[in-house]
């Protein structure tokens, strides 16, 4: 177990590699109740959400979710989030555990300039269980009246799951098909057990933070605090696609870019290791691991744009030894559909 943003969380249950491979080939179940939830409601909620988050929430129908972010004036990340439109005037924002207080204060401060819009930190009202992997639909469907075949990627629906009222969302942080299920914390254990039982024949196993990190990295999903933070811009991070149309009008050619890399030499380039281009320090590895699916050492780092093209080589200092690395396209892993 490790302490994570005030939560006690398992790094692994049966073993990181086994858990990772289960999600790629069958399914895994994750307790991600540490994620924060902030609700914004009122007749001016849409205008407020449009002003505070960078993606275009106007495109969302009730039942749609969207990857978005809170950006500073300099277009760096206060947080990256998922915005759910519950009703036309009611939004649920899922935020990173470590940022709940910061985000809530940021939102509350800005809401004062909107007429009818209030924010509530609803983190303690939701437990969040993720079922991820190609077998996920077959595992969740028998337990819910929500028709999962008609639930599109980045859509959600309310209904009962294992006789508990909740919300099923076709989203995730693994690069696989799957669901994130919001239920009241008091009943979370029951839902977890029901899913585990339903999924066992299909190969579902519980997965910890370790596998969550290797899975999301293979899918090149950014991790707040590692790959993006208040010092990295949306353009540097390669996330300009989450800018709404009006925000996209301003284009900026970044001096550095977040790239994916593979190590050419043996070793694992871990988070925080120094990166060198032609002998000069350029930054640090933001995320890095040995990938259980691809059996390669992969990672991400910010490189000067001039040195960031696919195939470009640089070096990572692995505990005093310089290991060669090569820029490769992102994501490292893409599921076949």
């Amino acid at each position: 177990m490790v302490e994570f943003a005030g939560w006690d969380m398992p790094v692994e249950y049966s073993g990181l590699t086994q858990e990772h491979l289960a999600v790629r080939s069958a399914a895994g179940i994750f307790d991600v109740s540490h994620m924060g939830e902030i609700e914004i409601a009122g007749s001016d909620a849409l205008a407020a959400v449009q002003a505070i988050f960078c993606n275009d929430a106007g495109k969302l129908q009730p039942g749609d979710a969207q990857y978005s972010a809170i950006l500073t004036e300099a277009h760096t990340f206060v947080d990256d989030v998922l915005v759910y439109r519950l009703r036309s005037d009611h939004f649920l924002v899922v935020v990173n555990a470590a940022n709940v207080v910061k985000d809530y204060n940021w939102i509350a401060e800005r809401l004062t300039s909107f007429g009818d819009a209030v924010a509530m930190d609803a983190t303690s009202r939701y437990a969040l269980i993720a079922v991820q992997g190609p077998a996920a639909q077959g595992i969740v469907q028998p337990l819910t009246g929500v028709d999962l075949t008609s639930l599109n990627y980045y859509s959600f629906a309310h209904g009962e799951i294992a006789n508990v009222r909740g919300t099923v969302s076709r989203t995730g942080y693994t690069g696989e098909d799957g669901f994130e299920i919001f239920v009241p914390p008091q009943q979370a254990d029951r839902v977890w057990q029901a899913l585990l039982t339903s999924g066992q024949p299909a190969g579902l196993i519980p997965c910890g933070l370790g596998a969550r990190d290797t899975l999301r990295l293979e899918a090149a999903m950014r991790l707040y605090g590692n790959d993006i933070d208040e010092t990295t811009t949306v353009w540097e991070a390669g996330l300009e696609w989450i800018l709404s149309g009006s925000r996209r009008a301003k284009k900026e050619a970044p001096q550095r870019k977040l790239v994916g890399f593979e190590l050419v030499d043996p070793g694992i380039a871990r988070h925080g290791y120094d990166v060198y281009v032609a002998g000069s320090a350029t930054g640090k590895v933001t995320s890095g691991t040995q990938t259980p699916t691809l059996k390669k050492s992969i990672g991400m780092t910010y490189l000067p744009t001039a040195n960031a093209s696919i195939g470009a080589e640089f070096e990572v200092d692995i505990r005093g030894r310089r290991a060669r690395a090569r820029v490769v396209p992102l994501p490292f892993y893409k599921r076949s559909r």
């Binding site: 073993g15 043996p266 040995q290 505990r319």
Partner: protein, 124 residues
């Protein structure tokens, strides 16, 4: 898994199999379980001189990287290069997968190491 009685153990979770003035060194079952799937071992060159407790290399899993500490003082006389291509052997057979062989320079040090019963009590 039980801890073989013919091995001596350290609090840093290495074992040594001493025979005459030589000892083969590996990591314990407890250590491999803590690490999870081993993906790299970094070992010293033959001829490297070690003092007791000195780091002689690293062992790395997806989860973490861990230093290896020599149970005794001596000179590295052999390195198990087969582990470089098959590091998962350390997980499969921790007490059979030696990393280095050392020629002991101070035989008295072995007396200070833990026997199997004491080590087992330590990791319980």
């Amino acid at each position: 898994m039980s801890y073989p009685a013919n091995l001596k153990y350290t609090k840093d979770h290495e074992w040594i199999d001493i025979s005459g003035d030589r000892g083969k060194v590996g990591i314990t079952d407890y250590a491999q379980k803590q690490l999870g799937d081993v993906v790299f071992v970094d070992l010293p060159a033959v001829g490297t001189r070690l003092t007791q407790g000195q780091s002689f290399g690293t062992i790395e899993s997806v989860k973490a990287v861990s230093e290896l500490y020599s149970p005794v003082s001596g000179e590295v006389v052999e390195v198990n290069d087969a582990l470089k291509s098959k590091p998962e052997q350390v997980n499969a057979d921790p007490h059979g997968s030696w990393l280095i062989a050392v020629k002991l320079t101070n035989a008295g040090e072995a007396g200070g190491l833990l026997d199997a019963a004491k080590y087992e009590a330590l990791v319980k």
